[in-house]
Amino acid sequence: MFAVKAKKSQAKLRQSVKGKQMRFFEAQGVDELVSICMTLAQELWVVKERLASVEAAAAKKGVILGQEIESFAFSPEQRAMVDEEKKQFIERVFFTLREQAESLETKPTAEPDGPKVP
């Protein structure tokens, strides 16, 4: 998958933030789940973006090679389409949060109550 070869490097950079970690949810593990979900979403996006470039490249040349994909660049129009798709993709994955706000924006309807939870 990586045409940019991992060169031998002596450098070891840090990815973890040191010190106090920010936590927002009471139940243990929820903050971590959020983080995992976001990374999952990111990786899914990576696949989708790669696929989009495969399709666009194939359409252009009729051949698909790893190197071909690596150096492929979207035209500004294609980029705009892909960006738009990315926006919608994110909004879809995190829909439940939008629902929280939007459910307050509309006037409450006289919704009949269901049975009481025991």
């Binding site: 940019v4 490097s9 903050d31 307050l104």
Partner: protein, 400 residues
């Protein structure tokens, strides 16, 4: 390469790494628009009315709003996702830099020695102590801060900030990510056309985004950027050389620079003060006063002070101070810029502030219009910048 890093120190990224960066930019747009908008709705429709029912009034201060909102699920998701997005900004650029760290350091050395395009100087001080308040902090969740070193002659932390800023800013800061100082300095030159500085200092310059525009405005001036981080000033110097701009960079602490008295006409900083504790800001202003020639000016771009904002907007900006490892940000924004200037020796009536419209978004004509409007609305120098909607940069300063 990352979107807005187009000079010789750019980093090669694979397609998938670039897709990861695109995702993070998109995620930021979602969190800052959709989620933050949702949080505002929950506040307006639920939290504020509930508070009013209980207390017979609406919340009046940022801490009151913070306290009332922080148990809401939307606040928790907004906060946790903003932290995650922030960390993902840096994580999306670090692997490529780690791979190319030696390469970047070698390229920086070549650029530093070449006088082909520019001939700015680089002065390092390996004995300089990193100030205690920042030495052990991963400021805004950036692993390694501006000064950590991993290999000899390292520039990695500079590269992390430059490429990370590009993912973070999403084009918002202009093609070279220097729109703030481009706008602020353009406003300044148009507002004070007869002022011709010969020596300009940029404190806390990091990579020179806030330094180089001054050389464009005043090509004959000697322009110098200082920062405590060695990787930052090395990278800043390489970046300037690559762009063909002759500017000097030095590793120095703005609290005690060892520059002679009265050696600069302009002493500037950009996005610097909010990362410094109040006590140290006071020392830095005193040091600036000492270094300024009579008739010179001290100038700072910063986030607007809390007293210029509504309680909700203050709460919204203060969020970073609680959760984004910006511990000094709130205290700075709670302080009065004019008082801080006078405490350092500047005369009260020599204080001024302005709000510069973005050069990148609105062009020079908008800046000229803003100056005309400000002049029409006030007498003399001591006018209040007015904050309206749009991309604009709050600036304050004082003449010596």
């Amino acid at each position: 390469m990352t979107e807005n890093v187009d000079h010789d120190l750019k980093v090669d990224y694979s397609r998938d790494e670039m897709a990861r960066q695109h995702f993070v930019s998109g995620m930021r747009t979602y969190v800052l628009n959709n989620l933050s908008g949702g949080m505002r709705t929950v506040y307006n429709k639920k939290v504020e009315p509930n508070f009013k029912k209980k207390n017979k009034r609406v919340p009046k201060t940022a801490p009151e709003i913070h306290k009332a909102l922080k148990d809401e699920t939307i606040f928790k998701f907004y906060s946790s996702m903003r932290c995650n997005t922030q960390e993902m900004v840096w994580r999306s650029v670090i692997p490529g830099i780690e791979r190319q760290a030696e390469d970047l350091s070698a390229k920086t050395k070549v650029l530093a020695q070449s006088t082909q395009k520019a001939n700015g100087t680089l002065t390092l001080d390996p004995k300089l102590a990193i100030p205690r308040y920042t030495a052990d902090l991963d400021v805004h969740l950036m692993p390694g801060n501006y000064h950590e070193e991993h290999i000899p002659d390292d520039v990695s932390q500079g590269a992390i900030f430059d490429n990370g800023l590009s993912v973070f800013a999403m084009g918002f800061l202009g093609p070279r990510m220097d729109d703030i100082t481009q706008s602020v300095s353009t406003y300044f030159t148009k507002r004070y056309p007869d002022f011709k500085p010969k020596a300009i200092l940029d404190m806390g310059c990091t990579l020179g985004h806030s330094t180089l525009p001054w050389k464009q405005r005043y090509p004959n001036a000697e322009v110098t950027g200082i920062d405590v981080g060695a990787p930052s000033v090395r990278y800043a110097h390489g970046r300037a050389q690559s762009y063909g701009v002759s500017a000097n960079f030095a590793q120095k602490d703005a609290e005690h620079t060892a520059y002679p008295d009265e050696s600069f006409d302009v002493i500037y900083s950009c996005m610097f003060l909010h990362e410094v504790p109040k006590k140290n800001i006071r020392n830095i202003f005193k040091e600036a006063y000492r270094m300024l020639k009579p008739g010179g000016v001290m100038l700072h771009y910063e986030l607007p002070p809390n007293k210029m904002l509504s309680a909700y907007d203050s709460f919204y900006l203060d969020w970073d101070s609680f959760y984004n490892k910006e511990p000094f940000y709130k205290a700075f924004r709670d302080s009065d810029p004019q008082e801080e200037c006078t405490a350092a020796g500047f005369k009260k009536n020599k204080y001024f502030q302005y709000v510069a419209p973005s050069l990148n978004f609105y062009g020079e004509s908008a800046i000229i219009k803003a100056i005309a409007d400000a002049k029409a609305n006030t007498e003399g120098e001591n006018h209040m910048g007015r904050l309206v909607d749009g991309v604009q940069w709050f600036t304050f300063g004082a003449w010596k």
